[in-house]
């Protein structure tokens, strides 16, 4: 797909081009929004706000960069704003200054399956969830995260370590549960 041509047509406000751009990125971006929120409703709200921003600011997109990354960045920023403003999230969206929390398990042996992992991430407290997404998935450094959220780098590291530890525990439990279920099913069948 020729993104530059698509962007030019969107800038000329051709409805078909706008729809094409939306269709091309909507599913992936809903996946991004889903990880930052706690319900599909909220995720779709973020997606909607994000695409409105994208179409309004498309003139700022420089063709040198990758369009997907630019859209993703806008979507993440929109999600963070949503968390800050929304009444169901903003009271949880506060970070206390904490000391560095060491990462306990560097290479845990756990099964990671996309949807399952996403649902576990969404069960984390909002602060943990956000920092985990920003660092582990989007690849932002703790310095960048600190600037984005207005917190110390150390706080970001600490929150991330806690989130990671919690997630690994849950993944391990899930593994055990699935093993038990598998064994139970196996014995039943026999």
């Amino acid at each position: 797909m020729d993104y530059n041509k698509l962007v030019r047509e969107c800038l000329r406000e051709i409805p078909a081009a706008q729809r094409q751009l939306y269709d091309h990125f909507a599913e992936t971006m809903l996946g991004v929004c889903y990880r930052y929120t706690r319900s599909m409703d909220d995720a779709e709200d973020v997606l909607q706000d994000g695409f409105v921003k994208i179409f309004r600011n498309l003139h700022q997109y420089k063709s040198e960069g990758e369009l997907g990354a630019w859209i993703r960045r806008i979507m993440v920023t929109t999600a963070l704003n949503f968390l800050k403003k929304n009444s169901r999230y903003n009271h949880e969206f506060s970070f206390d200054n904490e000391n560095l929390h060491p990462i306990a398990d560097d290479n845990p042996e756990v099964k990671i399956i996309g949807k399952e992992l996403a649902d576990l991430i969404r069960q984390l407290p909002i602060g943990y969830q956000t920092i985990f997404n920003l660092h582990a998935v989007e690849g932002f450094s703790h310095v960048e995260i600190g600037k984005m959220l207005g917190i110390n780098e150390g706080t970001s590291r600490s929150q991330y370590a806690r989130a990671r530890a919690l997630l690994i525990t849950w993944l391990k439990k899930n593994d055990e549960m699935s093993h038990k279920n598998y064994r139970a099913n196996y014995h039943d069948k026999r």
Partner: protein, 500 residues
């Protein structure tokens, strides 16, 4: 960057995470993109209207200045013509007076001239003062009419309009005439007599001869006085009218550009809209804004629709100061209190939710929580604002007493109090208070018409419709679809005239 394998695995799994969004999302995105355009067009129209008015005012101002210049030039021309005419007339007067003097001298007996001179001088002095006053107060055209020089042969008439008349009269009749003329101060009737000579200027006051002076000396004085009268008349025509008129024009302009102050009261109705159209909020719009997959808490129970918001009573009241920019345009600045409200039907109270961690930190401590949907409670959202309106007025007709005015303006407002409740999809749809979601500083555009109903000496009373549309959102919640405040009302204002 991810520290190790775990992060890499997570990242790769999450990058591939995809969900198909519902069709409503695109519809809403498309709708919002188009709406922004509409709002932009509306703002551009207002700006263009403002610019057009500014241009018109500027053009009017320039034209006004040219007009004044033209008037002044015309005045000068007229004065010059008048002066030359006057010079001719005074020459004729001299001749006539010379002739009549000789006739009178012959008929005059040995009566003393000085007594009469003194009497007549005092009378004419008074008249002279009256003439000066009259000229200052009257416009140029009247002065032109008034300063007429009658030929010497013409008889004096008591009912004549102000006239500079140099005529020959007998001492007795002159006394009578002089007395009549003092009574009528508007008349300008200067008479000369061979025996009783008019003194026109105190600086050039002629010397009064002693009693034993004979006719010869009186004759000589008559000639001298005639010269003075002629000079004075010329001077009056040459200089005074122009100066006085130009002063009066300047005075008129400066008085019309002074600040006047007034009061206004504007009762009306207000509503919340998502565009410039006026009307109640349709519940379906706000409901469709959120897809109905589940509630905000993840539950699958059907969500309650937000209630229809109906327009409520509103009013603005305050003071303003107004100043004319040109004869037909004016600017006003004010300070006002604005009250706006909307009515909505809501369900039963759910105050137990205040203890819920999701809402306890958000909803106002003294607030209540209500179920969305239903019509158990009639709730009124009230907003109290302090506003600073700036209005530009343009008189559409040419009537000075009862102008028909179109006004447009910009207002900055600060929300000082509100009891507004907002919709949220949480708990299957609730209403609750959250002041942090209200945009406290509001900017709005206004437009309206007004007719002057009564225009008295002390005040001017106007009446007409006005409308305000707010440019920024009043409610900054993702669940509230229609968030722009709209106000329409009938403005009644009193503008006080300054005491002169």
């Amino acid at each position: 960057m991810p520290e190790n394998e775990f992060e890499k695995k997570v990242s790769s799994e999450m990058q591939q995470l995809k969900f198909k969004p519902s069709e409503k999302v695109w519809l809403r995105v498309e709708e919002r993109i188009r709406k922004k355009k509409k709002r932009r067009v509306f703002i551009i129209i207002f700006l263009l209207a403002g610019l057009a008015l500014l241009g018109y005012w500027q053009r009017n101002n320039l034209f006004g200045e040219k007009k004044n210049e033209i008037i002044k030039t015309e005045q000068q021309k007229e004065n010059n013509t008048k002066t030359s005419e006057q010079a001719n007339t005074s020459a004729t007067i001299k001749q006539n007076t010379e002739t009549t003097k000789q006739e009178e001298i012959n008929t005059t007996n040995d009566k003393t001239v000085n007594d009469k001179l003194t009497d007549d001088r005092s009378v004419i002095d008074k008249k002279d003062i009256a003439v000066s006053k009259n000229k200052i107060d009257k416009p140029k055209d009247k002065i032109k009419d008034e300063i007429k020089v009658k030929p010497a042969s013409q008889k004096i008439k008591a009912e004549d309009e102000p006239v500079v008349s140099i005529d020959v009269v007998s001492p007795n009749s002159q006394k009578k005439n002089a007395a009549n003329e003092i009574k009528n101060k508007d008349t300008l009737d200067v008479k000369t007599n061979p025996e009783t000579i008019v003194k026109q200027d105190e600086v050039k006051q002629p010397e009064v001869k002693p009693l034993d002076n004979k006719i010869d000396s009186a004759k000589a004085e008559v000639i001298e006085q005639e010269k003075i009268v002629t000079e004075k008349t010329d001077t009056l025509l040459k200089t005074e009218p122009t100066k006085e008129l130009s002063t009066s024009i300047v005075k008129k302009d400066s008085s019309s550009k002074k600040w006047k102050w007034g009061l206004h009261l504007t009762p009306g109705i207000s509503s919340l809209n998502d565009n410039i159209s006026f009307g109640g909020l349709k519940s379906a719009d706000a409901f469709n804004y959120q897809s109905s997959v589940g509630s905000g808490t993840g539950a699958t129970a059907p969500r309650q629709r937000p209630s229809d918001v109906k327009p409520g009573f509103a009013f603005q009241a305050g003071v303003f100061a107004q100043r004319h920019l040109s004869p037909r345009t004016s600017l006003s600045l004010g300070l006002q209190y604005g009250f706006y409200s909307q009515r909505l039907g809501i369900g039963n109270s759910r105050d137990s939710l205040l203890d819920n961690s999701l809402l306890s930190n958000v909803a106002d401590a003294d607030g209540h929580i209500y179920n969305a949907g239903g019509d158990t409670i009639r709730y009124t959202n009230r907003y109290h604002f302090i506003e600073l309106p700036l209005r530009f007025q343009w008189e559409l007709n040419k009537s000075k007493t009862k102008p028909f005015v179109w006004s447009t303006g910009f207002t900055v407002g600060q929300l000082i109090a509100s009891n507004a409740i907002m919709y949220d999809t949480a708990f299957n749809g609730i209403y609750y208070k959250n002041k942090s979601l209200l945009n406290k500083t509001q900017f709005s555009l206004s437009t309206g018409f007004s007719w002057t109903i009564a225009n008295g000496k002390r005040a001017q009373w106007s009446l007409g419709p006005v409308a305000n549309i707010h440019l920024n959102r009043l409610i900054d919640s993702p669940f509230e679809n229609k968030r722009y405040l709209f106000f329409a009302g009938i403005r009644t204002s009193i503008l006080f005239n300054k005491k002169k």
